[in-house]
């Protein structure tokens, strides 16, 4: 028939739509990793080489386990999608800086294998893999996980005894005054905010955690529905404890609210669902901190709330066009 048609045919035929957004899952995951860099860098500066060992251990454990699982399950390699790195990094940032590197490695591997791959890999896991890893380490290495805290910048001063306690731990054992004394009395709030205090590697600097989250907000990777819920829930639960401000500014609450409660896979898909999920995390965190067995409760709070996600997804649905009164 026509000459013009002949040379190029057949053209590629794919189903529609034939245009799509440039956004990809891989890009999203690597942006999350990038957004964690400021608080990670701060952790390295404050806690020194031991923190680096923990981070490398956890990330290597997570990535190695995913590659191994891909191999065993005869899948294509998925480590490049950035989600294993993300799990390892998030786990490391919630660990005490003086935890042995090999414990972090085992934790990272466990997080991926039993937190993610066993469910079918990315997208299918019910629980936040990093928090599965942390819970596993709490059970397996209880001493390291509860005493591995370091005095800020102590490694650089070559202090003999650099271990200490966290503000929440001190408050639990003693009282608010002792906790405030630990973070330096007057001016302590400021040190709490910028992160010059004992704590997990990536949890100490509220300012830098927020800075990273702002990048994700600007790129519309995350929204504030779940994080807002976390703070509301925690504020409500701790409001009468007399130390609500300490609760809201310490512990991993900022890291957890902005980077874990916002994990797509393990949080509800609708905005009202995400807010409810956040509130649940906040309430449970307060409950565990005030009356539970641990000074910090957000890890278990997230895991329990994760279990509620399928239900939350059923309860909080998008609004549909009403089907009533259709003469059709």
């Amino acid at each position: 028939m026509s000459e013009a048609a002949a040379p190029r045919a057949p053209f590629v035929v794919t189903p529609g739509p034939h245009l799509r957004t440039a956004e990809s899952t891989r890009a999203i995951m690597w942006w999350v990793n990038a957004a964690l860099l400021p608080t990670m860098a701060w952790g390295l500066w404050v806690f020194g080489p031991p923190a680096l060992e923990v981070i490398v251990g956890a990330v290597a454990g997570a990535v190695g386990a995913e590659a191994l699982a891909n191999r065993m399950m005869r899948q294509r390699l998925t480590v490049k999608d950035g989600s294993a790195v993300c799990t390892g990094l998030l786990l490391a940032l919630t660990l005490p800086p003086l935890v042995p590197w090999w414990a972090a490695l085992i934790g990272g591997a466990f997080a991926i294998l039993l937190g993610k791959m066993i469910f079918g890999g990315l997208g299918y896991n019910l629980f936040n893999p990093a928090m599965i890893g942390r819970a596993f380490m709490m059970a397996s290495f209880p001493v390291a996980m509860t005493t591995g805290w370091s005095i800020p910048r102590a490694w650089y001063s070559r202090l003999e005894a650099i271990t200490t306690a966290t503000p929440l731990g001190v408050m639990r054992e003693h009282d608010l005054q002792a906790a405030l004394h630990l973070i330096g009395g007057p001016g302590g709030w400021f040190r709490l905010l910028i992160g010059m205090r004992p704590g997990s590697i990536g949890e100490v600097s509220v300012v830098l955690i927020v800075a990273g989250a702002l990048v994700l907000l600007a790129r519309r990777v995350i929204t504030l529905y779940a994080p807002a819920g976390v703070f509301v829930g925690l504020a409500v639960m701790t409001s009468f404890s007399g130390a609500a401000w300490l609760h809201l500014l310490s512990g991993g609450v900022w890291l957890a609210a902005l980077f874990m409660a916002t994990d797509y896979v393990t949080s509800p898909a609708t905005r009202p669902g995400q807010f409810a999920f956040g509130v649940l995390i906040g309430l449970l965190t307060g409950l565990i901190r005030l009356w539970g067995g641990y000074p910090e409760g957000i890890c278990f709070a997230i895991l329990i709330a994760n279990a509620m996600v399928p239900a939350l997804d059923m309860w909080f649905r998008p609004r549909r066009v009403p089907a009533t009164g259709a003469p059709s």
Partner: protein, 451 residues
């Protein structure tokens, strides 16, 4: 209802890059009559037309060459010349269909279509007959015979005609240029349509990125004869899929068309602007639908243009008139890039419902496979109906398509907004199609058992 206002204002929609700049500034150009046209007997939803000519016959442009059968419409010669063959030929959407192939002959004069002096005073049945005789179908893409849409089913009452000028597909500018070029024809056609269905009110819906088109229609509304009808041109937000009937009717009237129902359900009839102009020609001049405006565009064509081309023109002739393909062209889409379909070849004819021909470059969206659903919720924000493509897709993947009913699979009209935003590149429209057909089959089985 505030929820609808929100939807009309952009909730549950997406805003893809419109990419209309290549052709938005180009007036409609007439394609010179091609040397050959291929006229499929099925270019509409309904029974195929029956050939009224035989091989070797001489036909004039405008002459009826196939008669309407059943609920279908007739077909007309779009160039003068001879019937070369009546045979199975390539069809853009049906792959193959019987068609009448005409070879052009410039010596055969076209039929003339003088104005009927009594065109303003015709009764409803006469107007409907002329619309059918002209072979008019919905030119916005659906290709449903217009006379059938205008014959209201028993028990249906309507009070508003919506004229759809919300050309929301990226790249396409054929309706936009038509509104600028022939606003009077559109308005006159709309007035006739309103009289046929017996409504006192006409609402024109134009997107906010086409305000000059809205102004042109407004001027035409003022110029055309006052006939007691209430006409209003309204600007609606430029979002995708604003031109979908459900979205446009909600934006213009605040009325929600229930799931799986037609606009009749809320007393509205919707017609595309190009259809309105064709109706004017059919009623005023008894002129059949011979040409249509089509946007030939995309990075795969050298010189994107808006063309008025005879129905049946080979797509390769359209592309050649636009300077040919670029070296990087890899994909051909009939219609818009969101809801159109990819074609493997260009030696197929322009059919009545084809409003665009988009030539794309690069790999297709799903050529590189797709990832798992990560429950990011972007599709929930994108869906104009509030459906849950994420939930449907994971159930279809698990082989449990019939369990996707609670997530609205059956209501989907396949606008593709969900797949557009999915970061895992999942073919959500196709998952929804699988779910829809599984649910339909389930309903039929249940009905069979019950019956």
């Amino acid at each position: 209802m505030p929820l609808l206002e929100l939807r009309a204002l952009g909730r549950g929609t997406i805003h893809p890059d419109p990419r209309k700049e290549a052709t938005a500034g180009r007036p409609i150009e007439d394609l010179p009559l091609p040397a050959e046209v291929l006229l499929p007997l099925i270019q509409h939803l309904g029974d195929p037309a029956v050939p009224a000519v035989k091989k070797g016959d001489t036909v004039q442009r405008g002459q009826r060459i196939a008669d309407a059968a059943g609920n279908g419409v007739p077909l007309h010669a779009t160039i003068g010349g001879r019937v070369r063959a009546i045979e199975k030929s390539a069809h853009p959407t049906l792959v193959q269909s019987p068609a009448i192939v005409l070879t052009g002959d410039a010596a055969v004069p076209p039929l003339e279509f003088p104005e009927d002096p009594h065109w303003r005073a015709l009764d409803r049945e006469e107007m409907l007959a002329r619309i059918r005789e002209a072979g008019i179908v919905g030119l916005g893409g659906a290709a449903f015979p217009t006379f059938r849409k205008l014959r209201l089913p028993p028990g249906v009452t309507v009070d508003t005609l919506v004229v759809n000028g919300a050309e929301c597909e990226p790249y396409l500018t054929s309706d936009y240029r038509l509104m600028l070029a022939e606003p009077r024809a559109i308005v006159e056609g709309a007035r006739l349509l309103a009289r046929i269905v017996g409504v006192p009110r006409i609402l024109f819906g134009i997107e906010s990125d086409k305000r000059d088109a809205a102004a042109a229609l407004e001027a035409a509304v003022r110029e055309t004869a006052a006939d007691g009808l209430e006409l209003e041109v309204r600007v609606v937000p430029a979002r995708y899929p604003q031109g979908a009937e459900k979205q446009l009717v909600a934006a213009l009237t605040g009325r929600v068309i229930p799931p799986r129902a037609l606009p009749y359900a809320v007393h509205v009839v919707v017609q595309n602007v190009a259809t309105a102009a064709a109706v004017r020609d059919a009623v005023r001049f008894r002129r059949p639908l011979l040409d249509r405006v089509v946007t030939v565009t995309g990075p795969g064509v050298v010189e994107p243009r808006n063309l008025r081309a005879p129905i049946g023109t080979l797509l390769s002739d359209l592309v050649r008139f636009c300077g040919g393909l670029t070296d990087t062209a890899t994909r051909v889409v009939s219609g818009g890039p969101m809801m159109g379909r990819a074609l493997p070849r260009l030696d197929v004819p322009l059919v009545k419902g084809m409003n665009g021909l988009v030539l794309l470059t690069g790999r297709g969206p799903f050529e590189e496979g797709y990832g798992p659903c990560i429950q990011c919720g972007r599709c929930l924000d994108a869906c104009p109906l509030g459906l849950e493509p994420n939930q449907v897709s994971i159930r279809v993947e698990a082989g449990r398509a019939t369990e996707s009913a609670p997530f609205g699979a059956a209501e989907c009209y396949e606008c593709g907004a969900c797949a557009y935003v999915c970061p895992s590149q999942r073919p959500l429209v196709q998952f929804l199609q699988v779910a829809k057909s599984a649910l339909r089959k389930q309903r039929e089985n249940l009905a069979a058992v019950a019956g």
